[in-house]
């Protein structure tokens, strides 16, 4: 626990923590304010109106905010994790810990645990900013805010937000493993962006049988575990591909696997810096 708290001490004053938070807040907030500002129910197509209503009408807006926290927070979180963990190698601070007799695996796991705590703070802050932005968007669109304090919706929202944090942590663990294997901040960030784009684009060109695999990949499974039903679109509701509880198991498997790889790579590494 001492090591985890020391990790939080390292991260909380780091400019990367603040920058990542501001980027995620800005991305989420701008989305809702722009949607609110451009909402015109009388002139928009029905599908678009349904999506806008889903984003700006509470309590469904809570789901929309969480979705955006996951989409933007997940990507920013992965890059953030890569940035802060990569410097353990480039700054030589990992070598100081090892030379003091610290267990490499324990250090790797404790460092990620402290990152997960910072991510929890980040997810809560981005969610809060997103709710404010959704309320502002609703005001701009002249939509009512009466679902904002719906008790049962708030309970569900808390649960979904917890799942969102697990999803972001699960995604970030993949970035963490990439950095610890590559021992380089830039290589890790490059791998994450490549993986992100590849996961989104590759299914468009692959045969159906292979496409099936993609629903088990981190970006897909971690999104499904939140269990959010999207808005009505084209007569259908956008739903998770995997059952949310199964997606949770898949994401936890990715988390465990990524941390195991990170620990193993660090245990075997020859530290020359």
């Amino acid at each position: 626990m001492t090591l985890v708290l020391a990790g939080v001490r390292k991260l909380r004053t780091r400019s990367a923590s603040l920058v990542a938070l501001l980027i995620a807040v800005a991305l989420v907030a701008i989305e809702f304010v722009v949607v609110g500002a451009t909402y015109r129910s009388s002139t928009m197509p029905a599908d678009q109106t349904a999506t806008y209503d889903w984003m700006l009408t509470f309590p469904s807006a809570y789901d929309a905010v969480i979705s955006f926290v996951f989409v933007f927070g997940g990507l920013v979180g992965m890059i953030y994790v890569a940035a802060v963990s990569g410097t353990e190698w480039s700054w030589g601070t990992l070598s100081v810990a090892v030379a003091r007799g610290e267990s490499r695996s324990r250090y790797v796991l404790a460092t990620f645990a402290s990152v997960a705590i910072i991510l929890l703070v980040g997810v809560l802050a981005v969610f809060a900013a997103g709710v404010l932005a959704a309320a502002a968007g609703a005001a701009l669109a002249s939509l009512p805010l009466n679902g904002l304090t719906d008790g049962s919706a708030l309970t569900q929202t808390a649960l979904k937000l917890a799942r969102c944090w697990v999803a972001v942590v699960g995604l970030s663990s993949v970035g963490y493993a990439a950095v610890m294997v590559a021992r380089s901040q830039m290589a890790g960030i490059g791998a994450i962006i490549g993986f992100y784009i590849g996961s989104a684009v590759a299914p468009l060109f692959l045969p159906d049988a292979i496409k099936e695999i993609f629903k088990y990949l981190p970006f897909s499974s971690s999104g499904d575990l939140i269990g959010i039903q999207g808005p009505q679109s084209g007569g259908a509701t956008m739903s998770p591909v995997l059952d949310p509880n199964f997606a949770l198991v898949v994401t936890l498997a990715w988390l465990a696997g990524s941390l195991a790889i990170a620990a193993l790579a660090t245990e075997r590494a020859e530290i020359t810096s």
């Binding site: 780091r14 030589g92 100081v96 030379a99 003091r100 530290i271």
Partner: protein, 327 residues
């Protein structure tokens, strides 16, 4: 392997390669407890590689290490709880203060009480700047902080790689005093350096490494016994005559021109014969404008490291006297 309780550190046939490049080619060193050991070598000789092997950052390809009297392998990490180390370029979190850096470092390995952090900030003279971010520190201040990190555990054995790097004269004196105090309290100090005067002032025992092997090891005074020199400065037009006179005293091939521009001559002879040399020169009408005597670690170092076979990986076109290499 038999253990040796009298040694704080020993290596036996230690070998390490980076690809085709040999960094250590069978290193044997013995560091008795309670001594200051100077580990000297030119750039690329294998000093930093040795330090990394001793602190578990690298795995040896062959050979063995004993730390604090017992065989050490990398998995035996708890042995490092009793060892403090300083790398050539100390590593910190630049956005944290010195105090926070020490606190987060103290959370690794053997846990250290926070009171120890303040003690060490006082010791290294950083108390006044303890709350400042390390990114604003000078090289010397970072070095002081690195020394504080090395001392966090109150270690029995200190491994220091170029500890005087970047320190101002007051810092060097303070470091020297601290290391002497530690040694007098029974701690063992292993200093890797190429700053010879610093080591000469501190070390009880010296090991000289070249091309990954120890080429000389022993008590400093014994190593220097055969290295006594008398230096004399004369007028440039008197150099030839002075050489003849000094050769008559010191013996054939024992006198060299040490610095042609300043007309310094160096005679390998007992230091207590400096007055005799001066008298002989005066009798011939040559009045020395400079006279110095002493043992010469630099000469010993250059002699031992220059006689090694050329390094196989030296790039063609390299400037003579400069050896490349990551080690």
């Amino acid at each position: 392997m038999a253990t040796n309780g009298g040694l704080a550190l020993a290596t036996h046939g230690l070998m390490k390669r980076y690809g085709r490049q040999v960094a250590l080619a069978g290193l044997d060193i013995s560091v008795p407890r309670g001594t200051v050991y100077g580990f000297l070598g030119p750039n690329g000789a294998g000093k930093t590689t040795t330090m990394r092997l001793l602190t578990g950052l690298l795995r040896p390809d062959a050979g063995s290490i004993e730390l604090l009297g017992e065989p050490y392998v990398r998995s035996d990490r708890r042995r490092l709880f009793r060892i403090g180390s300083l790398s050539e370029t100390p590593s910190f979190y630049p956005h944290l203060s010195a105090r926070d850096n020490l606190l987060v470092t103290a959370a690794t390995g053997k846990t250290v009480p926070s009171s120890r952090v303040d003690e060490l900030l006082d010791l290294v003279g950083l108390r006044e700047r303890a709350q400042d971010r390390v990114s604003g520190y000078s090289m010397g201040m970072k070095q002081r902080l690195g020394i504080a990190v090395a001392l966090l555990n109150d270690p029995e054995l200190l491994l220091l790689d170029e500890p005087a790097n970047g320190l101002d004269p007051a810092g060097i004196v303070a470091l020297r005093d601290t290391l002497r105090t530690l040694a007098s309290n029974g701690k063992t100090v292993f200093i890797s350096s190429h700053i010879l005067p610093e080591v000469e002032q501190l070390a009880d025992i010296v090991g000289i490494i070249a091309l990954g092997r120890i080429v000389s090891e022993g008590p400093l005074n014994e190593l220097l016994a055969g290295q006594a020199v008398v230096r004399v400065r004369v007028r440039p037009d008197e150099v030839d005559r002075a050489m003849t006179i000094l050769t008559a005293l010191a013996g054939p091939d024992r006198v060299t021109i040490d610095d042609p521009d300043a007309a310094w001559l160096k005679a390998s002879m007992a230091t207590d014969r400096a007055a005799e040399a001066n008298r002989a020169l005066g009798a011939a009408g040559i009045y020395a404008s400079g006279l110095a005597s002493g043992s010469d670690l630099e000469s010993l170092f250059l002699e031992l490291t220059a006689t090694q076979p050329p390094e196989p990986q030296t790039p063609t076109g390299a400037i003579p006297g400069w050896r490349g290499g990551a080690a």
